[in-house]
Structure formats: structure tokens, C-alpha cells
Symmetry: C2
Subunit: 195 residues, 2 copies
DNA sequence: GGCGTAGTACTCTGCCTGTAGTGGTTGAAC
DNA sequence: GTTCAACCACTACAGGCAGAGTACTACGCC
């Protein structure tokens, strides 16, 4: 089992791309080797088996999603009203949508988690932490809405992104934007701008 | 190319089960043969190739999801207020959740649609029709809320179901129930019971 | 009796895994 | 500064395995 961390990370990033592009069906050691432009058999040297690979991909995904200090700090600026939340949600949706391969890979992992207990444990832990972090961050930033608000935004926006990335013609691009605004308006009642 | 419609349907139903259980990775002609308890090579005789198989699975899925007249009629009974909507949404979530293999198979198909234009066209068409039908049905039944309401319920509840089916420990079962109520309460403002 | 299909059996192919072996690089010890 | 050891990249290969597809036989229905 080789140890070179940079190479391991490169292999995992390649695996994310393969997952998104070819699906779970296409995720083989060989495909990872090719995607990472690395000699055949390299992935075999870094991962015990497919299960090991998938679990490490899960870890890697969240490693790459580590909080962006800039974005976090930006939330603390500006007003704390509903229009601000709308802005933040637009940013969020756009940011996640732009990491298309990552998002699709995560969906593949979710489906794989259905049959791999260890992967399921990992994803459950990370996603729950993510939701909790969103809630406390939202509340502590003094933004309007409670924990339930944040969870409902999480639900609706996630499916909206999924729809956008898998079947983009269901909701055309301009409608997506309007829908994000609608989501916040309906889920977060109250005045638009702080009075 | 064999024609027997009953056998074809049985093969497609088997394919749905395989998709849900083994994922897109496990969906091979052989696996379908085994699942349908049919001799090896049969699926080869019924489908040109993998693409053909997947597209027909998409058709079959929606064939099986044809409107349930009983459920449709039930909506027209009882009051037309928010509590009624909450009830209906609870029923909906439970009904869809119970067709676990179908829902998971559809998710697999969505991801496959990312790389198969024909499948994407098919799913786009059927899902858009589904959303539109939900909207007109809701409005014509005189239930409170407009088209946007229905779309937002669609978004939030779909992700809730996905969460429930793929990572059940994120939101424990009792919380799911409460969340459905929350979703309706927040998205559909107004009095609980008709006055 | 003929058409279509179920069922059997077999081959061919291609891909994937895992590993052995070699050469090179780096880092440490002296 | 030289030597040695450890690690790793890379090549090449063997073995395996499952799946696709197809001839062929048998059977039932019209």
C-alpha cells in the first residue's frame, strides 16, 4: 500500500470525475488510473478494493468542501433580513451547481451507500454535520428564521439543484433563479428588508 | 427480436429491481435474466443493447405509475384547507417511500440520463408532465395554494424522500413525519382549517 | 405443418484485477 | 560527499471472470 498523499489525493479527485462522468458503473481502478494519467495498476497499489476506494472518495469529497473562510465571513456582513438570505441562497445554489462533478459524484455515492454500510455511516455523519453547521451558522449570524427554516431550505434547494444538474429542461435556467427566490419567500415569511 | 409483451414487461420489472438493488453497475442482461428467472440470453433477445433496455425501463416505470383512480378521487373528498393538504402530503410521501425500488431505480435512471440523451428526453418529458399534472390537479381540486406552491412542495418532499431512502439516519423516522407537516405549514401560509 | 418463441449450451471477447520485477529518486547516516 | 536503504513510479504480464451474443433444439399455438 503506497503512501504518497499527493498522489492519493490526485487519484481520488480523478475518481470523483469518473464517478460523475461514467457513473458508479464506470468507476474501476483502471478508469481511475486513466483519468489521473497514471500507469495502469497504480490505483490497485493505493486502495485495497472498491469499497475502500469509495469510502476514501467520500472523505476526499468533504475534504474539498471544507468551509471557505471568505464566504463564511461574507455572511456576517450586510443586513440580516430576508433579502439577504435570498442573496445567500442564490450564491449557494450557483456555487454548488458549478461543482457539477462533485455533486453528481455525491449522488452516486448516496446510491452506493444503499448497499455499503460503511459508506452509509460515513455519509450520514458528514451530511448531518453539514446540516447542523448550516443551522448554527445561520442562527448565530442573526439571519431570520429558525432551525426548521434552514432544514426546509436545504431540502428544497437540494432537489432544485439535482433537477438542474440531471434534467436541466424541467426548469429552464431563468426559472431556476425565480424558484430560488420563491423558495426563500415562501419558507421564510416576514418583511423583505429589515425595517 | 422477440415480441411477447408479458415477458417483456416481466423483464423490465426485473430490471427495475436490479437497478434499485445493485445500481446501474449491476444492470446487465445477465442480471435481468436471473432476476426474472428466465434463461440466460433472454434479455439479449428482447433488447438491442443497454441503451434500449434503459429507455424501456423508463417507459415501464411510468407505465406502472399510472394514476391510481382511487387516490385521485379521494382528493376530491373532504375539506379544501391546509390540514387537508398536509394529510395528502403525508399519504404521498408514504406511498412513494413504499415503492422504494421504483424510486431508487428512477434516481439511477436520472444519473444515467446525464450521459444518455434519449433517456434524458424521455425522463424530462414524463417528469414535466407529472409536475404539470400535479399542479392542475391541485388547483382544480380547489386546494389552497397556487402553481408555485405545488412546485415547492414537489422540491422539498422529493429530497426528503431521497434522504429517507438513502441515508435514513439523517432524519429519524419520527422527524420525517414532523418535517412533512413543517413543509406544508411553511410553504402554504394561511389558516390551518377552513373557516 | 409452419411460424414464433422458450430454453440450452457454447464461444468469443474484452476488461479488470493484482502482482512481480526493475529502475530511479530521496533522505539519512556516517 | 558518498553510500545505503527505503520507497515509489512504471512496465509488463497472467489469470480470471462475467457478460454478450448466437446457433440450435424443442415446443406450443394457430
Amino acid at each position: 500500500m503506497r503512501q504518497n498523499p499527493a498522489r492519493r489525493a490526485a487519484l481520488l479527485d480523478a475518481a470523483i470525475e469518473v464517478l460523475a462522468r461514467e457513473g458508479a458503473r464506470g468507476l474501476t481502478f483502471r478508469a481511475v488510473d486513466v483519468e489521473a494519467r497514471v500507469p495502469n495498476g497504480t490505483a490497485s497499489n493505493y486502495f485495497d478494493n472498491r469499497d475502500d476506494l469509495l469510502t476514501q472518495v467520500g472523505h476526499r469529497f468533504y475534504e474539498r468542501l471544507e468551509p471557505d473562510p471568505g464566504v463564511m465571513a461574507a455572511v456576517l456582513e450586510g443586513p440580516r433580513d430576508r433579502d439577504r438570505v435570498t442573496e445567500l441562497m442564490h450564491d449557494l445554489v450557483d456555487r454548488v451547481s458549478h461543482f457539477r462533478s462533485g455533486y453528481l459524484a455525491l449522488l452516486e455515492l448516496r446510491l452506493e451507500a444503499t448497499r455499503r454500510p460503511e459508506l452509509r455511516r460515513l455519509l450520514t455523519e458528514r451530511i448531518r454535520a453539514d446540516v447542523d453547521a448550516n443551522i448554527s451558522h445561520h442562527v448565530q449570524a442573526g439571519l431570520p428564521g429558525d432551525a426548521t427554516t434552514v432544514v426546509l431550505l436545504y431540502l428544497a434547494l437540494n432537489w432544485l439543484i439535482l433537477e438542474r444538474l440531471t434534467l436541466p429542461d424541467i426548469f429552464p435556467e431563468d426559472q431556476i433563479h425565480a424558484l430560488v427566490t420563491d423558495v426563500v419567500e415562501r419558507i421564510l415569511p416576514g418583511p423583505r428588508r429589515a425595517t
